[in-house]
Amino acid sequence: MQSPFNGVWSVALTAAVMLAAGTAAYAHHGWSWTQDGFFELRGKITAIYIGNPHATLDVDAEGEAWRVEMAPPSRTIAAGFTEEVAKVGDEVTAIGNRSLDEQEKRMKAVRVIVGGKTYDVYPDRVPPA
C-alpha cells in the first residue's frame, strides 16, 4: 500500500525547490543583494551593453574593473540611455547601491550621468534632490 505521506513529501519538496529558486532569482533581479545606502562610482566606460536580460556598463574606476547593472533594456531606453548617448572611454558617474559583498566590484545603478546628462534608470529610487 502506498503511504499517504508520499504525496505530502513530494508537494513539500516541490515547494522547497521553488522557494529556493525564487529566492535566488530575487537576489539577482531585485535589490536584496545590495546595500541600503547610496553609493557613487566614477570612472571610464570600458563596455556598454543595452539589451536583455538587463543593461550593464563596465567601468574602470582607478584601475578597478566594476560591473554596473542597470534596469531591463526597455526601462533603460525609456530613461533616454541608449547605445548612442555613451561610448567606450567616456567618463561616467553611476549612483545606486553596491553589492553587500564589498569584495565584489558590482553595483546596481538608479542614476547614470554621462556627458553632463543625467539618466534616471530607476526614477522611483533616485536619492532625494
Binding site: 535566488a24 532569482a25 539577482h28 551593453y49 539589451g51 536583455n52 536580460p53 533594456p73 526597455s74 531606453i77
Partner: protein, 154 residues
C-alpha cells in the same frame, strides 16, 4: 571566433530580440518550459530504467519519454541559442557557460552509449544500463544548475 560571435550579435533579428520588451521574456519562458519537459521526461525515463514504476510497461514507457525528451531538447536548443545570441561574446567567455555546454555534450555521449547498449531490444535493468541511467540523472541535473548560474555570474 570572436568575429563570428560578434556577427551573430549584429543579425537584425538578434538586435531586435536584444532590445525587445515582449519577445525576449517569451523566448526565456519557452526555454524554461523546454527544460522542465526535458528534465521531467529524462528523470522518469531513468527512474524506470533503474527499476521504479515497475507496473508500467518498460519499453513503451521509455519510448514515449525518449520522444518527449528529444522534442524538449530541440526546443531548449532553439530557445537557448536565441538567448545566447543577444550577448554571444559575453556568454562564450563565461566558464560556467562552457561548463554547461560540456555537460550537455557528456549527456549526449551518455545517451549514444545507452542507445548502443540497448540495441537489440528489451534488456533487463541492471549493471551497465543502471550506471548509465544514474549518470544521465546526474548530468542533466548538473546542466540545469550550471544553466541557472549563468544568470548570476555574468
Amino acid at each position: 571566433m570572436d568575429e563570428f560571435l560578434a556577427g551573430i550579435e549584429q543579425l537584425a533579428f538578434v538586435r531586435g530580440l536584444k532590445a525587445s520588451f515582449v519577445a525576449y521574456p517569451i523566448v526565456n519562458a519557452l526555454h524554461i518550459m523546454s527544460i522542465g519537459a526535458l528534465l521531467t521526461s529524462v528523470m522518469l525515463m531513468d527512474f524506470r530504467i533503474i527499476g521504479a514504476f515497475r507496473s508500467l510497461p518498460r519499453a513503451a514507457f521509455v519510448a514515449l519519454l525518449r520522444r518527449t525528451a528529444l522534442g524538449a531538447f530541440a526546443g531548449a536548443l532553439v530557445t537557448g541559442a536565441l538567448l545566447f545570441s543577444v550577448r554571444a561574446r559575453g556568454y562564450a567567455a563565461m566558464p560556467i557557460f562552457l561548463a554547461k555546454m560540456t555537460l550537455i555534450l557528456l549527456a549526449g555521449v551518455n545517451f549514444l552509449v545507452f542507445m548502443r547498449r540497448a540495441r537489440g531490444g528489451d534488456e533487463p535493468a541492471g549493471g551497465a544500463v543502471t550506471i548509465l541511467a544514474v549518470l544521465s540523472l546526474v548530468l542533466w541535473t548538473s546542466v540545469l544548475f550550471a544553466g541557472r548560474f549563468i544568470g548570476f555570474l555574468n
